[in-house]
Each structure stands twice: as C-alpha cells, then as structure tokens.
C-alpha cells in the first residue's frame, strides 16, 4: 500500500545511511559480542515501528539512541552470566575484577583498542561517541540521557585512564 511504501522508502533514505554508525556503536558497546548483528537488526525494527515519532531533526542521534537502548536491554539480560561493571557501582569488596588492574593487564598486552575495551561501560560509550562517531556534547547527552556536565566529566575521566594505559604500554616498549 502506498503509505507503507512511502514510509519504507523514507526510512531507507533517512535512517539506513546510519547503519554503519549504528553497527559501530553496538559493536563497541558489546565489546565484539556475537549478538551485535541481532541487536542492530532489533534496533532497526523498533526504529521502523517508532518512525512516525521521528520529527526529522537529527537522524543519527535518533537511531543511535535506539541502538544504545537495545544494547542496554541485551546487557541486562547478559548480566547474570558475565562480569560487567560500571565505574559508579564498583566497590573494593565486591569481589569483581578491579578496573584499574584490568586496565594495567590489558596495557601489558598493549593496544589502544584493548585499553578502550577495558574501560567501564559508562566511560567507554561516551568516548566512542565523541572520538569515533564524532557526536557533539549535546548529541551525546541526548543519546546517553545524561546532562552535558556528566558527558564532559566522563570524557575527561576516560581520557585520563587511556593516557595512563598508553603510558604503561609505551614504557614497556
């Protein structure tokens, strides 16, 4: 039917161009987990269903918000099985892997990519959105649903950690 074709064609022209950015964000979020493709496909299904609510302002930020939310849903289902931590909830007595130690260990294996992957989720996603997807502070704030001040402080903390991580790597070579 004409309306459906029109919607599909509009979606293809406005949202599908951001498929690489969507996959990229999901891939960094899941640290290369095998569900990445399914997550992106589910995100695009939701986006297509909600397409009527899209005003047309910033397609990339809009679809990346949906992709991120879909990643979080996946993450919360995975939580029972694996160790994932947020910087804010980590405590010394929790028995979880110490992020500092984890980062030092990865630094010895030595690559910037590994250093980024060992950042806690909330720092890593902001760094990826800024440095790799090149979103503005305002866009990151709207995708991650945090105030701009929090974007800036998380970015700053992730950069300091990466510098420390790379300093160790450089020191060893």
């Amino acid at each position: 039917m004409a309306t459906e074709n029109h919607k599909a064609s509009l979606f293809e022209r406005m949202i599908v161009p951001h498929l690489d950015a969507s996959y990229n964000l999901a891939r960094w979020f899941t640290r290369g987990g095998p569900d990445t493709e399914d997550i992106v496909q589910e995100a695009y299904l939701r986006a297509y269903r909600y397409f009527d609510t899209f005003i047309g302002e910033n397609a990339r930020a809009w679809i990346l918000t949906i992709v991120r939310n879909t990643c979080l849903t996946w993450h919360s289902r995975q939580k029972e099985d694996s160790v994932m931590f947020d910087e804010s909830t980590h405590s010394a007595n929790s028995g979880l892997v110490d992020p500092e130690q984890e980062m030092l260990r990865n630094a010895r294996i030595g690559s910037l990519q590994v250093c980024i992957e060992s950042l806690p989720n909330d720092l890593r996603e902001v760094l990826v959105m800024r440095e790799i997807e090149e979103l503005s502070y305002k866009e990151i704030a709207s995708v991650a649903l945090i105030p701009i001040g929090t974007v800036m402080s998380r970015l700053s903390r992730s950069r300091k950690r990466l510098q420390a991580c790379m300093a160790i790597t450089d020191g060893k070579t």
């Binding site: 039917m1 459906e4 074709n5 599909a8 064609s9 979606f11 293809e12 599908v16 161009p17 498929l19 690489d20 969507s22 996959y23 990229n24 891939r27 960094w28 290369g32 987990g33 095998p34 569900d35 493709e37 399914d38 997550i39 992106v40 496909q41 589910e42 695009y44 299904l45 297509y48 269903r49 849903t73 996946w74 289902r77 995975q78 099985d81 690559s111 910037l112 990519q113 980024i116 760094l127 800024r130 440095e131 790799i132 090149e134 503005s136 502070y137 800036m152 970015l155 700053s156 950069r159 990466l162 510098q163 790379m166």
Partner: protein
Amino acid sequence: MTCLSTQPMLESLLDGELDPNQRARILEHFETCPSCISEYQLLEQLSADIRSQVFHFRAPDSLRRKIVGSLRSSNDAALKPARPLTGMATRWLAAAACVVIALSLSANLALLRSRQTQSQLVADEVFSGHMRSLLGPHLMDISSSDRHTVKPFFAGKLDFSPNVKDLASQGFPLEGGRVDYLAGRPVAALVFRRDKHVINLFTWPSSSQGAAEITRQGYHSVERTKEGMKYWAISDLNLNELKQFMDRYLT
C-alpha cells in the same frame, strides 16, 4: 586567562565546543604558556591515536541486505532478528559462534586496520587542504563559473578529467577550481559557494569504497564514491545542505 582556568577548558577546545570568544582567550593564553600547550598537545595526540589506530566497524553486508531487503519488500514483519535475544540455547550457540568469529576476525583485522587508517589519513588531508585553501591566497587557479572553462583547465595538469558541474540553479554556484595534492596524488579541487560558505569539492579517481561523514571543529565533510571517482565535499556549511549538495552533484 590563567592556567587554572585554562586547563578545564582544554578538552572542550579539542572537541570544538568553545565559542569563538573562549577559543580566542585560550589561544592568547597559549602564546605565553608552554605548559598548557604541551598538555593540550597530549590530548590532541591521544585523540589522533584513537582515530588512526582504532577503526570504525562497518555493518556486515548480510545485515545490510536483511534490513534493506525487508524495507523494499515493504513487509515490516520481516524486520525481525533471526532469533530472539533471550534463552540459554541462544547464548550457548552464541558462545560457539564466537570462537569462529574471533578466528576469522583476527585474520581480517590487519587488513581492515590498514584500510581504515588510510581513510582517516585522507580525511585529515581533506580538512587541512580546506583550511589551507581558505587561509592562503590560493583558493583558485581558475576563477570562472562556466564549467566549459573550468573543466578544460585541468587538461595537462591532471591524469584524469574531473566531473565538473554547476549547481547555480540549485543554490550552489561554481566559483572555479585549482589543482591540489591529497592521498599521495594530484587531485582536482572545485570551489562552490552557498551564501557565505565556501565548499571545496575534492575529486580524483579511486576504487576504494567509502562514504564517510566527518565533522571537526565545526567543519563538515562528506565522502562519496561513484563510478570509480572519489568525491570529498568539505565546508562550514551545515551538514544537511552539504549532503544535499553532494547528492545533487552525483545524480
């Protein structure tokens, strides 16, 4: 400005988030403060390292086909993942699949990395080429809005004949062109204008597929490839209009 007030703003400067007034004050502080400059350079280096050493993952063709395919059959029931994201069976299968993926991934990693580094390097050159052309006296070697004058100008100066179009009727008049140097070779730079914004359109023959959209410090760039020719448009014009320009150029 003092070092104390400058240091918290260094990252905002790097990320292009300061207004011109704030930028000017920091740059002024830099003139007499080597330690703030070196701290800033460390941040720049980290950012450059991330962008050059870490790559953009591209959506696999299979995923793209599934999504686009179901859109074109206008059947949104088909926009469903092959398996739901729940269940232990799924996770068990996923774990097994992970090993296979990891093995093939590492084999392709080196190839992907070098390809991606190349793309980022070209992007860097597009940006600096644009800046240079605006700062120096050398924006154009040939100044003409007639494409029948601009196109033959490149004969004998380039080993290819660039596609030259005038989009004046659509609000992007051709202003002229020059020969520039990018990606290790001479390229054509075509200059367009949209109101007060200068658009540089770099073009050269290339078989590498690429369709990046990169924004830095308020400048937007759009990359496209068509029929063996690479096109990079760059401007401080807003991204939507720049993409419009590119789309119309390539129809």
